[in-house]
């Protein structure tokens, strides 16, 4: 049994360290044996006193010791047993001496480690004392590393039974056999090991290494058997441990705790949310305050999306509370209010609210949609604070961008329409290239929205020409006075609408009679009311959706609901928008049938027809002397933009007339200059070359890119030509290649590839004669080929 333990010890040392030992083999056996015997006795005893408390144990070792010393020949030693034993061996291998002093040779410690581990595994159980106190004891147990294991392992401690007399005898015999019979195991080597092991045991490192596995095992079993006790034992010091550790190495501690904390936190939140809240609430408030102090804007930005929702939710609650109160009040005034509310199509709560907060407009801004620059502004005079128009406009624009960036569904083109800011409200009315922002106080009545829509339409229709608004360059002088006047009108008479549809401004007397009549039917009315309210809500959401669809935003559309049918009415400039309105409405109220009664005024045959007409007219007009124009049709705004040059002013009228009479065209816009049109330019190439000169890039391509960006609907064809010289086969690849090169250059400038078609032509351009110089044919020219397909 001991063999397996022994082997590692002997194998590693035998060859290297004790070549001369075999000679001294026999004289030393008795001593070694003595040690062994004493050890066995020891073990025997150790088994016995196990139930007894540790202090008595020193007694048996005493006996052991007394027994052991007699056989050794040297009696001079008065020192401890440990040294004694060593001295016996020391004369022979002098190199051992330094080792004793040394703090355990590493080389050694590794080689021996398997053996001592075992005895020590069990050592801690009778408490650490034998280790520290009785050195003799340790020495013994290490001297033959295998020995202790045997009894401890084979004499299972659960029973606490001592080994029987015979068993001990047998073991004795076995050891004798082993030690005497086996020459491979010189005694002095054993002695050396004893010394060595002993040293190691005093080195904290080794101890640590030796102890830890057993300790863990023990600990685990203890935790298993009596967790409560372990807790009791650790309880008083655990906070000290944590405290000390955190003090010593905060980072490591944080790291250790970090992974556990989120889990713990969420667990606790589940188990006892209130406690957690109690614990962090005070700190939370302070943290937020501090963050606001540090960077207010960042905080506002971060909270912005939430705030909007919260405010509107809050308002909803307030409204419904008031509603309840009003519902129960059956005073005459209550009824009167009810009737008015009915007539205005709002709930009485809203009416009460708006009555209590008079509505005023503080400022109106016309803002450029993409840049956020203020195109025009008017503010209430006599205000102690004037609003910082630029900053407000910039921020509103940024918020709009942010909101559109955040919309989850890209097809859902949502639009920011209102911002509540404490007691201010900013109401936005958005069109294609600009929007109106009105800063208001109090609750805006629905008529105000209409007012904004009307004003915006008027501005765009009357002053939006010449790209004045689309290409607003930041110069306030470029904006006509009349635009300011229109904005002023919002400020001064926010609810006065254009006499488009007669509003309910009937004489008072008639109103009162009407009210009395209504009073008679007020009971069935209130039953009817609930249903109407729901319908009204549906209508409102439909109208909202329509007015936030960019193409429809400008037009006044109405919706009513009758027997599961949504009836749309109003006027739109073309059938394309007419259908679009039905689609938008249908997506909002999918369960209703749509009766699209919207009139498409001047119903255009088809945008592509108009486009063809425009081109036909253009080519006719270009035959007039001094007229070099191209005309581009914009199907969304139904306008024709004319670019190029017209020498005589009289010809301008002819051009206007020609286009405006095309059914479907509502506007003709001029953009004339003396320069050649970008599409009329040609890019020229050196013989056999396909590279574009820097000059052509700057002076022809860039203007062309501008042009294409101004008219995002048009498509062009790029036709590459070659001169008549050279191999025809070669020219066949060169011609389209030139067109491709130009196409790539345009794409690199941001023009979509779908808008560019290429073609090669090995002949000269139509207007270049065979007698003309060759360079005129080495070019790429451009042709307008029409509108790109706009889906829907």
């Amino acid at each position: 049994m001991p063999l397996p333990q022994e082997n590692p010890v002997s194998s590693s040392h035998q060859d290297s360290e004790s070549p001369s030992n075999p000679t001294v083999d026999s004289p030393q056996t008795p001593e070694s044996l003595e040690g062994l015997f004493s050890l066995l006795d020891d073990l025997d005893l150790m088994e016995k006193p196990a139930p007894v408390s540790p202090p008595p144990t020193p007694k048996p070792p005493q006996k052991n010791r007394t027994k052991a010393p007699p056989p050794p020949k040297n009696s001079l030693s008065s020192s401890k047993q440990k040294t004694k034993t060593r001295k016996i061996i020391s004369p022979l291998p002098p190199p051992d001496q330094p080792k004793t002093n040394g703090r355990g040779n590493t080389e050694d410690s590794t080689s021996v480690s398997p053996a001592p581990k075992t005895p020590l595994e069990s050592a801690p159980s009778p408490e650490g004392q034998p280790l520290s106190e009785g050195r003799g004891n340790t020495e013994d147990s290490t001297s033959v590393s295998a020995a202790p294991k045997t009894p401890l392992e084979s004499a299972p401690s659960p029973e606490g039974q001592p080994l029987s007399e015979e068993a001990v005898e047998q073991l004795r015999a076995l050891f004798l056999d082993l030690l005497l019979g086996d020459n491979n195991y010189p005694a002095n080597e054993l002695e050396a090991k004893v010394a060595q092991l002993e040293q190691e045991l005093h080195s904290p490192n080794t101890l640590n290494r030796l102890l830890s596995p057993g300790f863990l095992q023990l600990f685990a079993s203890q935790v298993n058997q009596a967790p409560q006790e372990v807790v009791q034992a650790l309880f008083p010091i655990i906070d000290l441990v944590i405290g000390a550790k955190s003090h010593q190495d905060t980072q490591a501690m944080s790291k250790a705790l970090a992974s556990a904390i989120p889990g713990a936190f969420s667990k606790q939140l589940g188990d006892a949310p209130d406690e957690i809240i109690q614990a962090i609430a005070p700190a939370m408030g302070r943290a937020i305050k501090e963050q606001i102090r540090l960077e207010k804007d960042a905080m506002v930005d971060a909270l912005y999306p939430v705030i909007g929702n919260t405010v509107s939710k809050y308002m909803e609650e307030v409204v419904s509370q008031i509603n309840q109160r009003v519902e129960s009040a059956f005073s005459l005034q209550g009824i009167y209010r009810k009737i008015r509310a009915k007539m205005q199509g709002v709930s009485d709560a809203e009416l009460i609210l708006s009555e209590s907060l008079p509505f005023t407009v503080q400022a109106v801004f016309l803002i450029h949609k993409t840049s956020g620059l203020v195109i025009a502004e008017v503010q209430q005079e006599g205000n102690d604070t004037t609003l910082e128009a630029d900053m407000l406009a910039g921020m509103l624009t940024a918020i709009r961008s942010f909101a559109s960036e955040c919309t989850v569904h890209p097809e859902n083109t949502s639009e920011l329409t209102e911002i509540d800011y404490e007691n201010f409200k900013i109401i936005l009315e958005v069109a294609g290239y600009c929007y109106i922002a009105a800063v208001t106080q109090g609750d805006p009545p629905p008529a105000f929205h209409t007012k904004l829509q009307q004003t915006l339409s008027a501005i765009i229709l009357n002053y939006g020409y010449g790209n004045l608004i689309e290409e607003f360059n930041g110069n306030p002088d470029s904006i006509p006075r009349a635009v300011y006047d229109l904005l002023k009108a919002i400020l001064n008479s926010p609810l006065e609408l254009e006499p488009e549809k007669p509003t309910s401004s009937k004489p008072r007397g008639v109103l009162i009679i009407f009210l009395l009549l209504l009073l008679l039917i007020s009971v069935p009315l209130s039953l009817y009311r609930a249903r109407q309210h729901k319908i009204q809500q549906q209508i409102t959401t439909v109208l909202n959706a329509l007015s936030t669809t960019p193409e429809l935003a400008l037009y006044r559309l109405d919706a009513t609901i009758e027997k599961n049918q949504l009836i749309l009415t109003g006027k739109l400039p073309n059938s394309y928008l007419q259908e679009k309105a039905a689609v938008v409405a249908g997506s909002i109220v999918p369960d209703l049938q749509i009766d699209n009664q919207i009139l498409a005024v001047q119903v255009p045959p088809d945008p592509t027809h108009i486009e063809a007409e425009v081109r036909r007219h253009t080519s006719v007009l270009n035959r007039i002397g001094g007229v070099y124009i191209i005309a581009v049709y914009d199907p969304i705004d139904n306008k024709v933009s004319v670019e190029g040059s017209i020498r005589q002013a009289s010809a301008e009228n002819i051009v206007t007339e020609a286009f405006i009479q095309i059914p479907g065209v509502t506007q003709v816009i001029f953009r004339l200059s003396d320069r050649l049109l970008p599409v009329k330019e040609r890019i020229y190439f050196d013989p056999n070359a396909t590279n574009i000169s820097q000059n052509d890039r700057d002076n022809k391509l860039i203007p062309l890119v501008d042009f294409l960006q101004r008219y995002p609907y048009i498509k062009i064809r790029l036709i590459g030509h070659t001169d008549a010289s050279g191999d025809e086969q070669y020219n066949r690849t060169l011609a389209p290649r030139r067109a491709e090169v130009v196409k790539d250059a345009l794409i690199a400038q941001g023009i979509q590839a779908e808008r560019l078609e290429t073609k090669g032509d090995i002949g000269s351009p139509p207007d270049v004669a065979a007698t003309d110089p060759f360079w005129k044919s080495r070019c790429v020219r451009f042709e307008l080929i029409g509108l790109i397909e706009t889906n829907e």
Partner: protein
């Protein structure tokens, strides 16, 4: 003559010093503290073009959009760049990757507004050896004709800060008035 307003944007990676450059230009201040910008912050300053051309008494009101820097996880939102007449693309001359990203930022803007002016700032030059800066500049080039130039700037010392904003304003104005 009326003051003309123009929108310009600051773009670049996070922490390159966009906010600091604006702060230096507008408030004449600098701080070592780093507070990352969230979303957009707009500042405003009127530039007199007389600084660049004596007989030009035009004033330009720059509305400077400080856009949160690009990080590994979040690109710069293109919609913020719309309507900008020019941009200042900023890199941190101590962080090579921010220099490498300049090209992407330039491309992003050109795709949105091919007419816009672009000024490139190699910021924090106070932290780098002049020779190293030379080396960095040697390895940089922009083919886009909208790029006005590469400027060594420092929000800390103020080097070239006014100059880069004023040049940008001037070029923007010139483009409208050619």
């Amino acid at each position: 003559m009326a003051i003309i307003s123009k929108k310009v944007c600051m773009i670049g990676d996070f922490g390159v010093g966009k906010t600091s450059l604006i702060r230096r230009f507008v408030e004449r201040q600098f701080s070592d503290q780093y507070l990352s910008t969230v979303g957009v912050k707009i500042s405003r300053k009127i530039v007199n073009l007389q600084h660049l051309e004596v007989d030009l008494s035009q004033e330009i009101k720059l509305l400077i959009w400080d856009i949160e820097g690009q990080t590994k996880f979040k690109a710069i939102a293109s919609s913020y760049l719309q309507g900008a007449s020019g941009i200042l693309v900023v890199a941190d001359s101590t962080r090579q990757e921010t220099i490498e990203h300049l090209q992407d930022h330039v491309k992003q803007f050109v795709a949105i507004n091919s007419n816009g002016m672009i000024a490139v700032a190699l910021n924090k030059v106070d932290l780098v050896d002049p020779e190293d800066i030379e080396q960095i500049r040697k390895n940089m080039s922009f083919s886009e004709h909208q790029v006005l130039g590469i400027y060594n700037t420092s929000a800390k010392t103020g080097q070239n800060v006014d100059h880069i904003f004023e040049t940008l304003a001037f070029k923007i104005w010139r483009q409208d008035n050619r």
